[in-house]
């Protein structure tokens, strides 16, 4: 049954890829997990994790795992190279001061690449995401097309990309908004 489950993890966006001058790729079925709580940072460091120095930053650690700090006490781990695992009770076991998060299930993960991605996002988001104002390693907890989202700028396979995390129930809507905004940049492609 467990093997079966691995195959039936369902992304609302079905892992779609949209290639072009601006590419959009669904990473929802990739692994992510997170913790928060007053002791989360200390516990994670004790486990050997290197954490971002400040909230709203993202770093890449050996093994290509991305670690994103959303506050002093909330950390998300994004692994773009590993498929989502089977959920288990162990994953949700809590210890005082450090609580597991549900980011694998709660959010859809989109990766946007292309030189004009900042201009495209300017049609949807009120935060300046141009490289001068929003450089690699920056994270914005903001809104895109009227829904909450987390935008992070990082490198992935040598490319400068945006990771966009939105509530999974808005995934289809968010994708449609992105594709609409992207259209003017991809007409020739």
């Amino acid at each position: 049954m467990s093997e079966q489950l691995n195959n039936v993890f369902e992304s609302p966006l079905s892992g779609k890829v949209y290639e072009g001058a601006i590419s959009i790729q669904d990473y929802t079925n990739k692994q992510r997990w997170g913790f928060r709580g007053k002791d989360a940072a200390a516990a994670l460091r004790a486990e050997g994790w290197k954490l971002p120095k400040a909230p709203n930053q993202i770093i890449t650690v050996p093994g290509d795992t991305l670690i994103m700090a959303l506050s002093q006490r909330e950390f998300w781990f994004l692994d773009p190279s590993t498929d989502a695992p089977i959920p288990s009770d162990v994953d949700q076991a809590i210890s005082e001061g450090m609580y597991p998060l549900f980011c694998q299930s709660s959010h859809a993960w989109l990766v946007v690449s292309g030189d004009q991605k900042s201009e495209m996002m300017a049609k949807l988001c009120g935060v300046d995401l141009s490289p001068d104002a929003f450089s690699v390693g920056d994270v914005a907890q903001t809104q895109m097309a009227l829904i909450n989202c987390i935008v992070a700028r990082h490198e992935l396979d040598g490319s400068d990309v945006f990771t966009i995390l939105v509530d999974q129930s808005y995934a289809q809507y968010a994708l449609e908004a992105l594709l609409d905004a992207r259209a003017e940049f991809c007409r020739s492609s």
């Binding site: 369902e10 709580g37 959920p87 299930s105 049609k123 009227l146 509530d167």
Partner: protein
């Protein structure tokens, strides 16, 4: 008209590319780059529109979109400005605001009866007797029509985009270009906003080449560039008495080359984003600028703003100054230099300043037949200019004015000027000449384009001695450059741009090579102090948009409206599309004189956004309608669900075609009552509370007692607010000593979560609160056979009622998926709410449907669920409650712990409990054939409204109509009769009934 195209004339048109469009059904030939207005003028079509009130013939005044004289419409869009509308093939353009035809407007009769339409006549004529405006309004609106909206047209795709920069430069003329380049070179990111499709501003059309000290026998002959003349272009009818000189060409060529280099540098600069054909339509706090560009509204966020918006040329107020053919000097400059349209008819220039002389020279040198300059002053300030004019044989009438413009032949286009001398008081005295004239260019001065600055709080001052304007009290981070700052000579204008950039960069803490501002001293007097020539017969227009004459403004002051703001409101001056660009100054002058104050004391009317009319579609932008879908959305569609909105969510209402609605709902209800049904309840809110103080937090927040809630049990959770009003409800499952999983209503969860965070910020309890609504998705498997379905699916816990009783919570592996299971009874049957991580709800649904096929499992939707819960008498917070509902009114007293020291709203609930009830929510019944009340129908008692129906359905199970309604407390006992006013005022008599209507002993849900 003639067309020329060379280095200096016709810069924007492509002589080798023709365009054809229609105007009023007539084919018009233009050139690529033409505006509709310029192409029409090139075809001798000066008459392009009609005025608002008197339906007077109107033609372009400014040729830059600053007047309402060129309002036209296309089949799709009304109220377009012909001087900003690019001419293109197949375009169909019509004039506006006429009755009959543009050329023979029946409504022109209004002009003859003008004396009966004095200022303020709207207010006087149409408000008595009371209510009569409703009669007049459609007539007046039709008479004053400003185009026709085509409601059949599909809305264009409009959208919005943010733009971020260090410095926004508004205006792409010489000041703006210099400011942008200087700031960008110093490291700033710059957005340069230009209203026209080309950068350059006045460098493109104004004859700076005649400016002293540049002036040096400057005459440019179009013949020297005839190789670029168009097919229908004709050489100048008059080349002047003086020969062309190399110096002349050099002066203009140097300016052109300088301009081109400047534009190239700006366009190539990586730090500058150029927005052409873009209008900065307002200034809002912190330099938030809405910029209209095509079908996009750009929301520009800058750190500093440089206004290089230029200035609006002012007209001379004389009789018939609105005739087509009477234009601003800058309009004639634009016509000749941008579009290469050279008037064939005699041209005259009415001068209030030296700029007008340059227009005369420029037009003459472009090939126009400039006959005369009529100077309101004693003479030109710059003797060199006078000499140049005289050298070309142009007559100068000093201290003279046009008393009247006339249209002898057609009544629609200028043909004649009556020139009078001005006496010492500035009034017209003896007649000097009658001039044949096809085009009159006038310039009484320049008023800063002050609107954006004044929107930002700046104050526009006026020196009555020098007739100069000055903007002061600019907000932090705003700077002026160019003629908006009353700087007019080119060198000073360019320097002022660089100075503004320097100041802006200083504010951004940039390191500058020099802190010193360049000299921008400008002594040129551009404003004539009194450009009015009163005529006994009137028709000297102050405001072209609203057809307001000198006497209208004066009459307003005589009626006691001394304040400029009141004059505006009474007379409507400045309220047209031009927004006072040309009427503000003459009005202020007239009011000042009439009230014996200075112009500075009188002031101008308040400038408010927007600067120009903006399409509502731009404000709406791309319409975002966030929709939430559960992970089962596509499965519902596959099953034929009719989806309905539930807040932002899409939920299945029922499964079947719309025609099958009632039957489908009844079948779904029957499946739940007799077999098994499954409903997607993923939209239900979910909140996770974890930590040592989780129980304490629950106990403080909800009305019930939760401190001693056993692990593995669920409990109904009612939330009241501080006013004691029922705010939400849900089910709280205690997973562990320090772990709760709480559901909330679909529409209320975000508010509940927010309230939880707020309260915990105050209470500072050690609890982590997480909104997991999207992390978990859920289905409710309900019906007497639901246990069998789960058992057949393979569940690793004992599902027997003894082991997993009603209201219990269990964690199990179901179909291999870790599942949170709750035995709840919202629909009143044996049922299990199954909550799983969202990505796995799809497979769980599939397995349940497979396992349930043996038991004829059926998906049911929201409609069936509403009926099922109504049969059980369960309320829905938000539907059966409102913003005033207290627990006692909805019989929730049982859900309030009596021995708790505190919960949110406890004190209010206690106070409310001691007061007599004013209404009570009860169940009611009606016969199956009775008219069925709807939600919101009123409950009537002795003729008074005492309540309303909140829920009502026909129950096939019970074969009667059942519902919930607020009634008078005296009628709340079972069996009491209440009157409900249904559709068409039909009163039905319902009986109050005990709830639950179905299974009153609640035996079925506890199976």
């Amino acid at each position: 008209m003639k067309r020329v195209s060379n280095e200096h004339f016709g810069q924007w048109v492509n002589a080798s590319k023709k365009v054809r469009f229609t105007f009023e059904g007539n084919e018009i030939n233009g050139l690529a780059g033409d505006s509709v207005a310029s192409a029409l003028i090139a075809n001798n079509q000066w008459l392009q529109s009609r005025s608002f009130k008197y339906h007077r013939p109107r033609g372009p005044l400014t040729l830059c979109g600053h007047d309402a004289n060129t309002l036209v419409q296309t089949p799709t869009t009304p109220n377009l400005l012909a001087d900003h509308l690019p001419a293109r093939d197949h375009l169909s353009v019509s004039a506006q605001n006429y009755t009959g035809s543009l050329y023979f407007d029946v409504s022109r009769i209004l002009d003859w009866f003008g004396r009966f339409l004095p200022v303020g006549f709207y207010y006087k004529a149409f408000f008595k007797p009371r209510g009569i405006w409703a009669y007049w309004e459609p007539i007046v609106r039709k008479a004053a029509g400003l185009g026709v909206s085509n409601l059949e047209v599909e809305a264009p795709y409009n959208d919005k985009a943010y733009c971020f920069c260090d410095i926004a430069v508004v205006g792409g003329g010489p000041a703006g270009l210099n400011a942008a380049l200087h700031a960008a070179n110093a490291g700033a990111t710059v957005a340069l906003i230009e209203q026209e499709p080309h950068l350059g501003g006045s460098l493109n059309y104004h004859a700076f080449g005649y400016e002293t000290p540049r002036i040096a026998s400057t005459e440019i002959s179009v013949e020297t560039s005839a190789d670029r003349s168009t097919e229908n272009s004709v050489g100048p009818s008059k080349t002047g008495d003086a020969a062309s000189t190399t110096d002349a060409r050099d002066a203009f060529s140097a300016i052109s080359a300088q301009r081109d280099a400047l534009i190239r540098a700006v366009e190539a600069h990586p730090n500058i984003r150029v927005l052409r054909s873009a209008t900065c339509n307002a200034w809002f706090t912190d330099h938030y600028l809405p910029v209209l560009q095509g079908t996009r509204l750009i929301k520009l966020r800058a750190k500093q703003t440089i206004l290089a918006t230029g200035s609006s040329e002012q007209h001379v107020v004389f009789r018939n100054n609105d005739l087509p053919g009477v234009v601003m000097c800058s309009a004639l400059d634009r016509l000749t230099r941008l579009y290469g349209v050279i008037p064939s008819a005699p041209v005259a220039v009415l001068a209030g300043n030296d700029h007008a002389y340059r227009t005369a020279l420029s037009s003459h040198d472009g090939g126009a037949n400039v006959q005369a300059i009529i100077d309101l002053r004693d003479g030109c300030d710059d003797p060199a200019l006078s000499r140049e004019v005289e050298r070309r044989g142009i007559t100068i009438y000093q201290r003279c004015a046009v008393l009247e413009a006339a249209s002898r032949a057609t009544g629609k286009v200028l043909s004649e000027l009556i020139v009078h001398r001005l006496d010492d008081n500035g009034n017209a005295s003896e007649k000097i000449a009658t001039l044949d004239c096809g085009v009159l260019a006038m310039s009484a001065g320049f008023m800063p384009a002050y609107q954006l600055a004044c929107q930002a709080g700046a104050v526009l001052g006026y020196d009555d001695e020098t007739a100069q304007f000055q903007l002061s009290k600019l907000p932090a981070g705003m700077h002026l450059a160019g003629s908006v700052d009353s700087i007019f000579s080119l060198a000073a204008v360019e320097a002022s741009g660089r100075n503004a950039a320097r100041q802006a960069m200083k504010n951004l803490d940039a390191e500058l090579t020099t802190d010193e501002d360049e000299n921008t001293t400008c002594t040129e007097r551009v404003n004539h102090p009194w450009p009015f020539v009163k005529h006994p017969k009137g028709r000297e227009f102050v405001d072209f948009d609203e057809d307001l004459q000198i006497k209208d403004i004066l009459n307003a002051t005589r009626m006691g409206y001394r304040d400029i703001q009141l004059v505006k409101r009474f007379s409507t001056v400045g309220m047209g599309p031009s927004q006072g660009r040309h009427s503000a100054l003459p009005t202020a002058r007239l009011v000042a004189k009439a009230t014996e104050r200075s112009v500075n004391e009188t002031g101008v009317t308040t400038a408010r956004p927007p600067l120009t009319p903006e399409p509502l579609g731009l404000l709406a932008g791309r319409r975002f309608h966030p929709l939430r879908r559960t992970p089962l959305h596509n499965r519902h569609l596959h099953l034929g669900a009719q989806m309905m909105p539930a807040g932002a969510w899409q939920r299945p209402a029922f499964y079947g075609t719309p025609e099958q609605r009632d039957a489908a709902i009844q079948a779904e209800v029957a499946a739940v009552r007799t077999g098994v049904g499954i409903i997607d309840v993923s939209t239900l809110g979910g909140i996770e509370l974890r930590g040592p103080d989780a129980a304490e937090f629950m106990n403080r927040l909800y009305t019930f007692g939760f401190a001693k809630q056993p692990i593995g049990k669920t409990r109904y959770a009612v939330l009241t607010n501080e006013l004691g009003v029922v705010a939400d409800d849900g089910v709280a499952a205690r997973i562990d000593e320090d772990h709760y999983y709480v559901t909330a209503t679909t529409s209320g969860v975000d508010r509940v979560y927010r309230d939880m965070l707020k309260w915990n910020a105050q209470w500072r309890l050690d609890v982590d609160i997480a909104n997991v609504t999207s992390a978990f998705s859920a289905v409710n498997v309900a019906g007497p056979k639901s246990r069998d379905v789960l058992a057949s699916l393979g569940c690793d816990i004992n599902l027997d009622a003894d082991e997993f009783p009603y209201l219990a919570y269990r964690e199990a592996t179901l179909a291999g998926i870790p599942t949170r299971m709750m035995r709840v009874g919202f629909v009143g049957e044996l049922g299990y709410e199954l909550h799983v991580p969202s990505p796995y709800i799809g497979v769980l649904w599939d397995r349940l449907m497979e396992a349930g096929s043996e038991f004829k499992i059926r998906a049911f939707g929201v409609e069936a669920q509403r009926l099922l819960r109504l049969e059980k008498g369960h309320i829905i917070v938000g539907q059966d409650t409102d913003g005033m509902t207290q627990p006692n009114e909805v019989s929730l007293r049982w859900a309030i712990a009596k021995n708790k020291p505190f919960f949110v709203g406890a004190k209010s609930v206690e106070i409310l409990s001691k007061a007599p009830l004013e209404r009570k929510l009860v169940g009611f019944e009606l016969g199956a054939t009775s008219p069925q009340p709807k939600e919101g129908h009123l409950v009537i008692r002795d003729g008074d409204i005492v309540g309303a129906v909140t829920s009502c359905e026909y129950s096939p199970t019970l074969n009667k109509i059942i519902g919930l309604a607020y009634v008078h407390p005296a009628d709340s006992a079972s069996g009491a009769e209440v009157v409900i006013r249904t559709d068409n005022a039909v009163h039905v008599h319902a009986h109050v009934a005990d709830t639950p209507f179905y299974d009153p002993d609640n035996a079925r849900q506890g199976l």
